[in-house]
């Protein structure tokens, strides 16, 4: 199987969709000649031309708004928001327009818009360029939210997002772009709403998203050395959520750690914990542990940034707490 970086996998999915379908085009800040600030769209301008690889002004509201309009007019646009921190500027369009038109038109309109964005700490981008805001959007009915963690997943899920008739927000993570992984020769679409068991185990289930999937795998390996068998599950899609897969795992292990890089308070993990305590209450043998960023803005100073953001040690400590060590 060929190996792609996460960045290349995103590009591969975009190119494949654009080759397959003239309705697919991409828009965003500096995505054409520059190839995007993270280099994801490099080379696409050469293949698909300026009509379909469009630079935009620096206005997130305009980017998303134009995407919504094109989507309602029958296109399958993929817009890029350079940093998810700036997604805040387009929230009116996402929350009040993209999420609502299909419902408010009684199904006469649909919004097959894909919004790609990225963020995350770990490289000292500072308080305004390092946040993880995915939970904000999971809260809005009418949107789908995905957060793939591997090249294979991002390629297959981005494809499904493009061909979904509803607005889908695809969260990517800055630190994942160089991560390499094997992918199938041919692009295999991965349905939105299906979790993936990354690692099987029997004592504790760690439900992790984005970079925490990888940090949890580190923690799981170390826990294994201590005799604790850890199952790691990546929901991949935060909305819709594969509750059945999570509940099934918890019924097997009876202990849960939920881990994400976003701030712990009101994070995605809070929702997962609530779902599991309700659906698997009688199977829980320990309080559900949450691992997330401390409730603080992210500093430029690497040491301070690392103090706030959860790493493998934090996941391991939570795993140990669930088994009473």
């Amino acid at each position: 199987m060929p190996e792609l970086s996460y960045r290349e996998a995103v590009r591969d999915a975009l190119a494949a969709a654009m080759r397959a379908d003239d309705d697919v085009f991409i828009m965003g800040e500096d995505i054409a000649e520059m190839g995007g600030s993270m280099g994801v769209t490099q080379g696409l301008l050469d293949e698909f031309g300026p009509e379909r690889v469009r630079n935009t002004p620096i206005s997130e509201m305009a980017i998303v708004g134009a995407g919504i309009g094109a989507a309602m007019a029958g296109m399958r646009p993929v817009v890029e928001i350079m940093y998810e921190d700036f997604l805040t500027l387009s929230l009116e369009q996402i929350v009040n327009q993209a999420a609502k038109h299909r419902y408010m038109s009684g199904g006469q309109l649909k919004v097959p818009l894909t919004i790609r964005t990225q963020g995350g700490a770990g490289w000292s981008p500072g308080a305004q360029h390092a946040q993880q805001l995915e939970a904000w959007l999971v809260h809005v009915p009418g949107l789908k939210v995905v957060f793939p963690s591997t090249p294979e997943d991002v390629r297959g899920i981005l494809w499904s997002a493009i061909y979904d008739d509803n607005p889908v927000i695809v969260f990517e993570h800055r630190l994942l772009y160089p991560v390499k992984g094997e992918v199938p020769e041919e692009l295999v679409p991965i349905p939105i709403g299906k979790a993936r068991t990354v690692r099987a185990g029997t004592d504790v289930t760690v439900i992790a998203t984005g970079p925490l999937v990888h940090r949890s795998l580190d923690a799981a390996k170390r826990a294994e050395e201590e005799g604790i068998s850890v199952e790691v599950i990546d929901p991949r899609s935060l909305q819709p959520l594969d509750e059945d897969a999570l509940v099934a795992s918890v019924k097997k292990t009876n202990r849960v750690v939920v881990a994400h890089e976003a701030v712990e308070r009101m994070g995605f993990g809070a929702e997962v914990a609530a779902v599991l305590q309700y659906k698997a209450f009688d199977w829980l043998d320990a309080p559900i542990e949450r691992v997330g960023a401390k409730f603080a803005p992210l500093a430029f100073a690497p040491v301070m940034e690392q103090f706030v953001v959860p790493g493998p040690d934090d996941v391991l400590a939570a795993i140990r707490r669930t088994v009473g060590r």
Partner: protein, 396 residues
């Protein structure tokens, strides 16, 4: 109140640990995270760190084994009050374990409830609660070994293994079946029989020729269905004639020795166990035995026995071989002195002339009333039965 230091679970499945050494002594200041003592588990020796900072007020277990979750020390402010549980006895495996030193005078000794209770509320995980509910286990009786003394599923599972009170298995309404008079008779007679001092003798007989005899009899006279029981009845009757001291009834004053072998056949009739008697079996041909047995057993099954059908028996045969039972002990049928329990005929490897061969073997167990018959007499009779079974011609 001072914080309890409990023996932690250092690995899945760890139930107890042995404290080998304290790295701090009483009165010393301890930082959170500082190594406090060393524990030997069945796998490793490990340092245990303090979970809280403060003064090590008291060491409850200086050395020796303790179950996971047991309080081994207290950390708190100097002079702080310690709530001590009734100290569990040191593990039997370590008789040399020194007793915990007697507590300083300022310690208040009082018995506290198990650590999992907290103001009446039992601290237990939802899973532990569910398992306890399903199995009818009282959580209040358990000691939690989870974080903060919480009762976890493993604790309940272990309680299950112990002889704990269990919820009654739900059953349907109990049916009351009044005793029939025959059931009462069976009960009275068997209870009386149980009083008799009996002994049992067991041997096996090679049934090759007896089986041939049954087959040949059926072949010659298809109208009468001869069975193994008939052969046994006939052979026992012949043997009883040679061992008349076994062909007796025991009474308070005398042994009644009978001139004929009146052989009872234990029958599982619909109304209960009955033992109709075939009289004078020694004088009957095999076919006559079969006919008489068939007739009387048939009446037993139809509940049409007369009193005299059940009287004057001198010996009883109880055959459960048709159920596959290989060997059993029959209860005496007083006033008769002996009863033969007959098992199934089973192809069995036996040694003949130094070689192992397979033979159809039947195990016979004779129950004998020792008040009437002594061991040697009984054994001699049983040996004759075996000889006759193995070579029926000898019974002539």
């Amino acid at each position: 109140m001072a914080d309890e230091v409990k023996l932690p679970r250092l690995g899945q499945g760890m139930e107890a640990g042995t404290i080998t050494r304290w790295l701090k002594s009483e009165g010393e200041t301890v930082e959170k995270g500082e190594p406090l003592f060393e524990v030997d588990t069945d796998k490793v020796t490990q340092e245990v760190e303090a979970e809280v900072g403060g003064t090590l007020l008291k060491i409850a277990l200086a050395e020796g084994e303790a179950p996971v979750g047991q309080t081994v020390a207290w950390i708190g402010e100097p002079g702080e009050e310690i709530k001590e549980e009734a100290a569990p006895p040191p593990a039997a495996a370590n008789p040399e374990t020194p007793e915990p030193s007697s507590p300083p005078a300022n310690l208040v000794r009082e018995v506290t409830p198990p650590p999992s209770t907290n103001g009446g509320r039992i601290k237990a995980s939802p899973l532990a609660r569910r398992i306890a509910r399903e199995r009818g286990i009282d959580l209040a009786a358990l000691r939690g070994t989870g974080p903060e003394g919480r009762i976890i599923a493993e604790d309940v599972e272990k309680a299950q293994a112990a002889p704990a009170p269990r919820a009654p298995v739900p059953v349907g309404e109990v049916e009351s079946i009044p005793l029939t008079s025959i059931r009462k008779t069976i009960a009275r007679r068997l209870t009386a029989a149980w009083q008799a001092p009996v002994f049992q003798l067991t041997l096996s007989a090679d049934m090759t020729r007896a089986n041939e005899l049954v087959a040949r009899s059926r072949e010659l006279n298809p109208d009468v269905r001869v069975t193994v029981t008939d052969v046994l009845a006939k052979i026992c009757a012949q043997a009883l004639m040679r061992h008349r001291d076994v062909n007796v009834q025991y009474t308070e004053d005398a042994l009644l020795r009978f001139p004929t072998a009146n052989v009872g056949i234990a029958v599982a009739a619909p109304q209960g166990l009955v033992v109709p008697v075939v009289r004078g079996v020694e004088r009957l041909s095999l076919a006559e035995v079969a006919t008489a047995r068939d007739e009387v057993v048939g009446r037993a099954r139809d509940n049409k026995l007369a009193t005299q059908d059940l009287e004057d028996g001198t010996f009883t045969i109880s055959n459960l071989g048709m159920f596959g039972v290989e060997q059993f002990v029959a209860v005496l049928n007083p006033p008769q002195a002996a009863i033969l329990a007959v098992g199934a005929t089973v192809d069995t490897p036996v040694v003949r002339g130094g070689a192992v061969v397979v033979k159809p073997m039947m195990t016979l167990t004779l129950t004998v009333d020792h008040r009437a018959v002594d061991g040697a007499e009984g054994a001699d009779f049983l040996r004759t039965v075996k000889q006759f079974l193995e070579d029926p011609a000898l019974a002539l």
